[in-house]
Symmetry: D2
Subunit: 342 residues, 4 copies
C-alpha cells in the first residue's frame, strides 16, 4: 500500500482527494494536516466521510508526514513552495495541486501571483502533471505540478490539433465556464448562493491567472508561441467545467478521426461521436474528460467542446492519476467510478 | 411626496426597499446611509439600479436624515436601537426591519440576542408592523417594528383560527423553509453556493431567534399562551418562504370559509381554492402571501400551507405597506406588481 | 387606453406579456386566446396573476379580437402566419413574437422551419422590431416581427461596431448561453430539472434557427454579408441570456467611447464602465440590456459581453417597447421596473 | 459472480442501478431490457456510462433474462406484476423497485393505483425489502418489494421509537421534501426546470400513494395501527430526501442513546451527534441514511431529522443491499462509496 499524506485538506480539492482515496485499492491515508483545524476529526468537517475516514487533522510538519510515500498539497498558492523542499529532502514524493510549480518562467509567476517565489530552483525540476502530454516524465517525477482546472480542459481540447500542426495558432479562442467550487471554500460574498445562484457572468476577461499556464502548455504542444484569448465565466452549479474552443483549420481534414486516433488509448479522454454535445453532468464526480467536435457549415472554423469535473480531472482526480503513474499502479486505480447522473 | 431615508442600505432588505420605492408613486428617496460604503453610488453596489437610483451612500447621521418624513432601518439587530431615539426626537417616523423592537419582554430579547438593549423604553412604544393584525396601531405609530420573515408566514397562517378559538393552541407545529437570502449578504461559508446549493437541511430546531417573536404574536391573537414547535429549514433558492403548519381543530368546521371570510378584504393575503398548493415562485418579488388549507381524510388535523417572499412580504414589502398605512396612502401603493414567474 | 389582445397566451412569453401589461399605464387587456385552455381563467394557469388578471382564455378568432387596437402573437412558429392576414385586414396592428416574419428570404425561412410559409407577401411588409435599429419603421408598422432572444443580444452587442465599420466582419464569434425558459413550456425530457439542472452544455453548434436571423440583422447593420460562428449553450437558470462576442478591430480605437456615445440616448441599453462584467441577474425581469467591453492585453481582439432577460428584452418586453413606439406612448411606459435582485 | 438483469432500465432508478452495479465486485450485468429503446446501447441513453457499460437494451422477455440469477424491476407500477410470475417460475429471484408488491392489502393497493392487481397471490409471498427491519426475511426471499423513497426515510426515523413503545402512535407527523428525480424521467410540464426550479411547494397533502405503505410499515413496527399525517414537498434539487418527523414521547428518556444503540450495527444508518443537522448533500449518491434528534426545550416533543438519497438508499442502493443479503455477499459490497460533496 502506498502511504499517502495530504497537506491542507480542508478545502474542496482536499475533500475530493479524500473521497477518491477512500475507494483506492492501493493506498493508505496516513496523515492529513491543517493548521486551523488541528485536532478535529476529518469527518466533523466533511460529514460525507463519517464512517469512512477516521483520521483527525494534524499540524503540517515534516515530522507528521515522514512516514508517507507521497504527499499531496491541496493548499492555496504560496504554501507548497515553502514546505515542499523539506518534504522532498526527506525522500517523499510530492504532488502539488496548487499553482506554485506550474509556470516555468519565475518572473511571470511572480507577476501574476504578486509575491516572490520561495523555491524557484524547484520549478525547473517540477513535472507538469498532465498525463496525456507528459506521462513518462510524470512516472519519474519527484515533484508533480498538477495543471489548473481550466488549463486541463483547454489543453486536452487542443492537443491533437497542435501536435498535428493543423490549426492557426495565432488566434485561439477559449470560452470557458466553471462551477463555483473552483473558487474554493473561502467565505466570500461573490460566491454566496444569493449572489452566484440563478446567475451567469464572465470574469477575468482582461487577464486570469490561468492564462500564462495555458499559453505555456499550448506552446509546448505546438512547438511555438500561441495567441490565446481566454474568457472564463461563472456557472451557477457546484462542479463542472465546459470549454468551447474556436480555432481555424489550416486545411480541410478529418478532425474526428484525428481526435479519435489521438486519444484511442487514453483512459480518461472520451471523444464523442459526431454531432454530440458533452454535458458537464456526464462527468460529475468522474475523472473523465469528454470532447466533441463541430464544423459549422463544414467550414474551416472548428468548434471544440470539452467537459470535465473541475475537482476531479481538473484537480484531485488528475493528481491521483499522476500518483498511479508515479508508483506504477494501474493508471485508473481508484478512478473508474461513473459520473453521478442524474 | 413622502421623503424617505434608509439606514443601512447595503444588504438584501435594503436593495429590496430600493427596488420597491423606485416604483412607488408617492415617495422620494432622499438619503441612504452606510458607514462602510460612504460615498459610493448605490448603483455601483446594486447594478440592477443603474439608471434608476442616482444617490450615493452617506454617513448614518441624523443630519443626513433630517429632511426625511420616514426612515427605514435595514440594519443588523442592535443598530437601530442606538440611533432611533435621536431620529424620533427629530420628529421623523421610523420603520425598523430589524429585530430590535419586535419583542416586548426585554429579558427575552436580551437573552436571545446576547446583548443589552439600548432603548428598552422605546420597545413599549413600538408597534408590531403586521398590518393584518395591527392596522390601526400602525397608522398612528411613530416607531414600527416590522415582523420577521418566518413570523409573518406563521402568524398569517394561524390568525383566523386563533382569533376564532378553533384550534388546540397547546400543540402547534410550524415547519418552515426559507431561501438563503434570509441569511443576508454576509460572507459566510455555510451560505456559499458550493455549500447551500443542491442541498436541504433543517437548522435551529433546538431554538431560533424567531421563536419568541412568533410565540408572542400567536399569544396576542389567541389571547392565551401557545405551545409552538418551530423548525426552520434552508432551501437552495434565493427568495421565498414556505411554511407548513400542523394544528388540531377543536371541532369540525368549514375552515375554507373561515379563511376566505377572514381575509376577504386583505389586499396581500390570498386564500387559494380548496385542494391547492401555493408555490414560492408565485410570490417571487411580490408582497402577496398565499395560503391553502388541507384536512387529510377530513380529520381534525389541519394542514395550512403558506408562502411569501421573505424579502418582500417578509421584510421590505411589508415595511412599505406599513409606511403606506402610516401616511394614509393607498395601502397597495408601489406594491401591486405581480410575482416574476417563471 | 390602448386595447390589447394576446393570441396564444399560455406559454412563457404570454405570461411575461401579462405581467408587464398589468403594470402598463396606457393599456387595457381585452382578450387573450388559447384553443387548448378556452374558458379557463388566466389566473388558474398563472397563479402569480391571481387578483391581477381577471380574464379567461377564449377561442383565437378574429371575432374575439376585433375590439383590439393591437394583437400580440405569443404562439409557436407557423401559427401567426395563418391568422395575421385576417387580423390586419380588420385594421388591427400586430406584434408577432414568433419567428414567422423575421426572415426576409422565404426560402431560408422554409428551409430552417421545414414548412411552407403561409403568408410570404406579408414578410416584406413586416418591420423587424429592434427599436435601437429600426425605431422609425416600427413607429409606422402595421406588422412587427419581434427579434429572437439570442439575435437581440448579438445585434445590440455589435451594432456600434458594424455601423462604424470598425471590425472584420468576416469572422465574428458569438458564444451565447440561455436560461431554459427559452425552450418554452412544453413537456420535454431534455428540459426537466433532473436533466437540465446542475448542468451546462452547448447545442445547435452545427446550425441553430437563430443563425440566419442574426446574419440578416448583422448584414443590415454592416451593409455587407458577415461571417458568423454562433454557438448557443443551455444554462441551468430560468431567465437570462449572456452572449460573449469575439471580434477583431480593424485598427486601434476607443471602443468604450464608441459604445457610450452610440447608446447614450437608448433607454434600454446600458453600457457599463470599463472593466465591468454584466451579470444576467442584473436584468432579471427587466427590459434592460447591459453591455461591457474588454480588450485583453489591449490587442485588436475585442470581447463584448451582453446580458438581457430572454423573456423581457429578448421577447415580451421588447414587444411592448415596440407597441409603445407604434402608439406614440412614452417608450419606457410599463417597462421601467428594476431587475429583481437578489 | 451473480448474474444480474434489469427490466426497464431507462429511468432514473435504472441508471442508478447501472452506476452502482458498475462498481460492484460480485456481479455481472448480463441483460437490460426496454421495449422502447430496444437495440440502443445503454451508453447512448446514459453518457456517464460510456466506456463502462457495453450492453444494449433488449426486449423484456423471459428468454432474454433466463441466464440471470436475479432480476431487478425498475419499471413503473403495474409492469412487474405481469412479468414477475414467469420470471419466478424460471427460478430467478426478483427485486422489484416499483410499488407492485409493497402493500399487503390488495384492496388498498387497487384503490390507490386505480387498477386491478395482476398477481395478488404473489403479494403475500413478497418480502418488504427494508433490511433494517426485515433482514432475515430478505435473505430467504424469492421476491423482494423494495420500499418507496419517502417510506424508507420515515420508517428508519421512527423504528427505534416504535419498537421501544416510546411514543404516542396516534399522532405522528411526517413532513418530507424530495428532489425532483423522485418524479422520474417522464416529460412533464410540472417538473421542467422552468417550473420546478427556484421553487418549493407541498403536494399530495390530501393523500399520497406512499401514505398506505408508510402506515403499514409503521404499524408493523409498532404492533398496532398508527395515526400518520404525511405531507410531501418538492425540492428544487435533483437527488435527496429530507424528512422532519414530529412525535410526542410518552415519557422522558435518552432518545439519543436509544437511536445510537438501535443502529449501532447497521452499516447504512448513521445517527449523528446531538445538536446536529443532517444535510441531503452528505448522502448524495451514497446508500447512507443519516438521522439527528432534537427535543426543543427538552420537552416531550421529539423532532427527528432524516436524510437519504432517494435514488440510492431510497431505491436502487437499497435494492442492491437486498441483493447482497439474498446472495450472502458482504451487505456493503458495491455500496461503500462516500457521498459526492461538495
Amino acid at each position: 500500500m502506498i502511504k499517502v499524506g495530504i497537506v491542507g485538506g480542508t478545502g474542496y480539492t482536499g475533500v475530493e482527494l479524500l473521497r477518491l482515496l477512500a475507494g483506492h485499492p492501493n493506498t493508505e491515508l496516513v496523515a492529513i494536516t491543517s493548521r486551523s483545524e488541528k485536532g478535529k476529526p476529518v469527518s466533523a468537517l466533511f460529514p460525507n466521510l463519517r464512517g469512512i475516514v477516521d483520521l483527525a487533522f494534524t499540524e503540517p510538519t515534516v515530522a507528521n508526514l515522514k512516514q508517507c510515500d507521497v504527499v499531496f498539497f491541496a493548499t492555496p498558492h504560496g504554501v507548497a513552495q515553502s514546505l515542499v523542499p523539506e518534504i522532498l529532502a526527506a525522500g517523499i514524493r510530492v504532488i502539488d495541486l496548487s499553482a506554485d510549480f506550474r509556470i516555468r518562467d519565475i518572473d511571470i509567476w511572480e507577476q501574476w501571483y504578486a509575491q516572490d517565489h520561495a523555491a524557484p530552483n524547484l520549478v525547473a525540476e517540477a513535472v507538469y502533471g498532465l498525463p496525456e502530454f507528459n506521462r513518462d516524465a510524470v512516472a519519474n517525477a519527484k515533484l508533480v505540478a498538477c495543471p489548473g482546472c481550466y488549463p486541463t480542459s483547454v489543453q486536452l481540447g487542443l492537443k491533437p490539433l497542435l501536435e498535428a500542426g493543423a490549426i492557426d495558432v495565432s488566434d485561439i479562442i477559449a470560452n470557458s465556464a466553471s462551477g463555483v467550487s473552483g473558487a474554493g471554500k473561502q467565505a466570500n460574498v461573490a460566491t454566496l448562493l444569493s449572489e452566484a445562484g440563478d446567475n451567469f457572468k464572465a470574469y477575468g476577461a482582461s487577464g486570469h491567472r490561468h492564462q500564462p499556464e495555458i499559453e505555456q502548455g499550448l506552446a509546448d504542444m505546438a512547438g511555438e508561441p500561441v495567441g490565446l484569448t481566454f474568457v472564463p465565466h461563472l456557472l451557477p452549479i457546484i462542479r463542472g467545467i465546459h470549454t468551447t474552443l474556436y480555432v481555424d483549420l489550416k486545411q480541410d481534414m478529418d478532425v474526428q478521426a484525428l481526435f479519435e486516433q489521438h486519444y484511442a488509448n487514453e483512459p480518461f479522454v472520451d471523444v464523442l461521436e459526431p454531432n454530440s454535445y458533452p454535458e458537464t453532468r456526464t462527468v460529475r464526480g468522474s475523472n473523465c474528460c469528454r470532447i466533441a467536435l463541430h464544423r459549422p457549415g463544414n467550414g474551416n472554423k472548428l468548434v471544440i467542446l470539452v467537459v470535465e469535473d473541475n475537482l476531479t480531472k481538473g484537480a484531485s482526480g488528475q493528481a491521483i492519476q499522476c500518483m498511479n503513474i508515479m508508483f506504477s499502479l494501474d493508471e485508473t486505480a481508484g478512478l473508474s467510478m461513473p459520473a453521478l447522473m442524474p
